[in-house]
């Protein structure tokens, strides 16, 4: 038995080392950019990082990224200046655009429609409405020449907080050690480690806290009280950050937005850009195959929709 365990350990170690080398050589893993909290308490990407965003087990989607000096994955390197019609596009990973080359982003597509139009993208993975509004307020001075602020939102994700607190996804010591191994990083990105982790935690919970788990499961996720709570959070955020109705517009898909929220926007004269119609009548797929984000066609539709909104507003 001892010999067997020894041989399993030795083989396991060698296999781990060989796989680690292979993952590094073929770059199967993604190396997402690091984030930090700046002096204004804003969560951003560490400036001037470069790397590759990889999705799919077999590198089916590989995109290079390059973070600008301000801390966003964008080709714009400065804050807006006077003289153009400046648009700020703020949002989560869909705006951050690690899944696309940054010279082919929504901002670039939108700016290409008119010479005097300049688009500045401020997207960070996981940005919710609190992050977005806090960013606008914190960088008020730098963004003074912005004519239009477009905030991309998903109702079910972005209104869980009523106040902003700078939060970085905290990593435990174990996570930090794990990040040194590209193999483990790759396994985590594929969901294999999470699947194992959830198997272990669920079964441990089942054994230890059977009743509590049943209670957790019994909560209905589409309960209207959640929608009301989100609307209430938005109200508080609007008040705290002085939501500028003349400048700010919400970019959303009304198919996936609660009707109470849409009614609230209408009643309070909050402008929205709804891309439901173009996406519904899209001739092709609007999302990437190995990634839920918008593909080039989807981004073009978004850019087109925003452009229509801007032209109708500035007739």
């Amino acid at each position: 038995m001892k010999k067997l365990l020894y041989q399993i350990a030795i083989h396991g170690l060698f296999i781990f080392i060989i796989l680690e080398c292979m993952v590094r050589v073929f770059h199967f893993h993604a190396n997402p950019p690091q984030q930090y909290i700046d002096e204004y308490g804003v969560r951003k990407l560490v400036p001037l990082q470069e790397g590759y965003n990889v999705t799919g087990n077999r590198r089916q989607h590989v995109t290079p990224y390059k973070v600008n000096s301000i801390g966003f994955n964008s080709i714009q390197t400065d804050f807006p200046k006077e003289g153009n019609y400046n648009v700020a596009l703020i949002g989560d990973s869909y705006i951050e655009g690690l899944h696309q080359p940054n010279h082919n982003s929504i901002g670039v597509m939108l700016a290409s429609k008119l010479d005097s139009l300049k688009v500045y993208e401020y997207g960070i993975s996981g940005y919710d409405m609190a992050d977005q509004l806090h960013f606008v307020q914190a960088y008020n001075k730098e963004l003074q020449h912005i004519d239009e602020i477009i905030l991309y939102m998903k109702f079910e994700n972005d209104f869980e907080r009523s106040a902003y607190e700078p939060l970085l996804i905290s990593e435990s010591k174990l996570d930090k050690i794990r990040n040194h191994s590209k193999l483990l990083t790759y396994l985590r990105q594929l969901g294999i480690l999470n699947s194992l982790k959830s198997f272990l935690t669920t079964n441990t919970k089942k054994l230890l806290f059977k009743n509590e788990i049943q209670e957790e499961n019994s909560i209905a996720v589409d309960d209207p009280k959640f929608s009301l709570q989100r609307i209430s959070n938005f109200k508080k955020l609007m008040k705290t950050y002085n939501f500028q109705k003349n400048k700010m517009t919400l970019l959303l898909d009304s198919r996936f937005t609660n009707t109470m929220f849409l009614d609230f926007c209408k009643e309070n004269n909050i402008k929205i850009i709804d891309f439901k119609q173009p996406f519904q009548s899209a001739e092709k797929e609007t999302s990437l195959v190995y990634d839920a984000h918008w593909n080039s066609y989807g981004r073009e539709l978004i850019a087109e929709t925003i452009f229509k909104h801007l032209t109708s507003k500035n007739k």
Binding site: K3, L19, F28
Partner: protein, 483 residues
């Protein structure tokens, strides 16, 4: 519990450690552990059906002893055998075939003009592995009746034999002369046997995860939407399904045999590289061997086998294949599949070529197969894959419609899976897999026969890497569980 699940990853080592920690005690302790482990393993699917396994064990244990005690009274002995046959086939008939018979009868009645005939059917769930363990227990009674085996007096060993978890739900179907004798005797910790077992588990997981599960979504799409595709895609669907079902079932068998080795128990081989068969007869000597052996021993030979006239032999072959088809599932598709195989087999039999390749394999004379062998293998593969249209299609109408499109929509088209799979990955994968199988074709139980330790470790690593590269979190079950 699935072999390719996290549960099994923890379950197997735990049972392994407990099992060998009991090795200095009487063998009965290990057998009790096997029973507990096996019932736990099965209970992960449906705890309600454990009673069926227990009932099957108790009935055949009792009947086996009764048959033996009446060995000099042929009539009584036969009556007791009938008890076992009726009980086991009754279980199968009730749980697997009841609704099929009711629906077929209603279809027939309606065909005869009795349109308004009312009928009832039962909403019966098919217990996993029922076809396998009922055949195993039945073989025990039959062996005693044919005086090939003495019944055991050890109920615990017998219960462990019926429920032995590595092969409980999808075989290999073991005869008591092989498995029960091992379970009844003391097992020794054998390092080589255990490492061989671990290697087989790795190879089986590779076949399941990398070959079968990776291809499965493509096959599912083609067979579900066959009316939208042309001949090239439909033919690709059949070829891919051949690899899927082979990877799935032979992968399962390898994991079963490998897991069993960890407990010092050797199971019979179930697959011997069937895709390298040179005719359909050889294919059946290499595909699902434990089932074809079962039918040969307990049905074909008792009916006279090939020792009777040619006409009767042909009749026997037809019966065997129809029954084999029906064993797979309560659906006309499987019966048709069996009939097709009978049709392919009979010419080989009449030409006297059915035992021609029983003791040799492709490429015996050199590294590469001869041109004739390549043509034979491709032809056999084409026949077998063709029959799988019926095996895979949900209904006989779908199978014929699929076939019809192959002949009526004969144009080339590029295939795009809805999820955008990069097809080249799968073609490379299947080509490499076939080449590797060819290299190891002479020993199905030792897939990693490399002398150099470095090469061996590198191959293990590549297997694991392939599993990661083709990992899919859907956790697919094994195809043969439905039988």
């Amino acid at each position: 519990m699935l072999f390719n699940s996290w549960e099994y990853l923890f379950f197997l080592p735990l049972i392994f450690i407990l099992y060998w920690s009991l090795s200095n005690r009487k063998v009965v302790f290990q057998n009790v552990l096997i029973i507990i482990a096996s019932y736990t393993f099965y209970g992960f699917w449906d705890i309600r059906f454990l009673f069926l396994i227990l009932a099957s064990s108790l009935v055949d244990f009792y009947v086996g002893n009764k048959i033996y005690s009446n060995v000099h009274n042929q009539k009584k002995s036969k009556n007791w055998l009938w008890v076992s046959v009726i009980f086991n086939l009754g279980l199968l008939g009730t749980f697997k075939y009841f609704n099929f018979f009711v629906h077929s009868f209603v279809d027939l009645a309606q065909g005869l003009g009795m349109e308004n005939s009312s009928y009832w059917s039962l909403n019966i769930i098919l217990p996993v592995g029922i076809s396998f363990y009922t055949f195993q227990t039945l073989s025990y009674s039959l062996d005693i009746y044919y005086k090939k085996l003495k019944p055991t007096k050890d109920l615990i060993a017998f219960t462990a034999f019926v429920s032995f978890f590595p092969q409980l739900v999808a075989g290999p179907i073991e005869r008591a002369s092989n498995l029960l004798s091992q379970i009844s005797n003391e097992r020794k910790f054998n390092y080589t046997q255990i490492t061989d077992g671990l290697k087989l588990i790795l190879w089986g997981l590779f076949k399941k995860i990398v070959i079968a599960d990776a291809i499965a979504p493509i096959v599912d799409d083609i067979f579900s939407n066959y009316s939208e595709y042309t001949a090239t895609t439909l033919i690709m669907g059949i070829v891919l399904f051949s690899f899927q079902v082979y990877g799935d079932f032979s992968g399962y068998s390898d994991i079963a045999i490998g897991s069993s080795k960890l407990f010092g128990i050797e199971l019979k081989s179930n697959f011997k590289f069937p895709h390298f068969s040179r005719n359909v007869a050889e294919y059946w000597q290499r595909w699902h061997i434990s089932l074809s052996t079962w039918f040969r021993h307990y049905l074909y030979i008792p009916m006279g086998g090939s020792r009777v006239s040619k006409l009767l032999s042909v009749r026997n072959i037809i019966i065997i294949f129809l029954v084999s088809g029906f064993w797979h599932g309560a659906n006309w598709t499987f019966i048709f599949w069996g009939a097709l195989h009978a049709l392919f087999y009979i010419p080989v039999f009449l030409m006297g070529r059915n035992r021609m390749y029983s003791d040799n394999s492709i490429g015996e004379k050199g590294w590469l197969p001869s041109i004739t062998e390549i043509i034979q293998v491709l032809f056999t593969f084409a026949l077998v894959s063709f029959s799988r249209i019926f095996f895979r299609s949900p209904t006989i109408t779908d199978a014929f419609a699929y076939l019809n499109r192959i002949f009526t929509e004969m144009s080339y088209e590029s295939y795009f899976h809805p999820n955008g799979y990069r097809m080249i990955d799968f073609f490379i994968l299947i080509s490499l897999f076939t080449i590797y199988e060819y290299i190891i074709r002479k020993d199905e139980r030792r897939p990693f026969k490399f002398k150099n330790k470095g090469v061996k470790t590198m191959v293990y690593s590549l297997m694991v890497l392939a599993m990661i590269l083709f990992y899919d979190d859907t956790g697919r079950s094994f195809i043969y569980f439905q039988f």
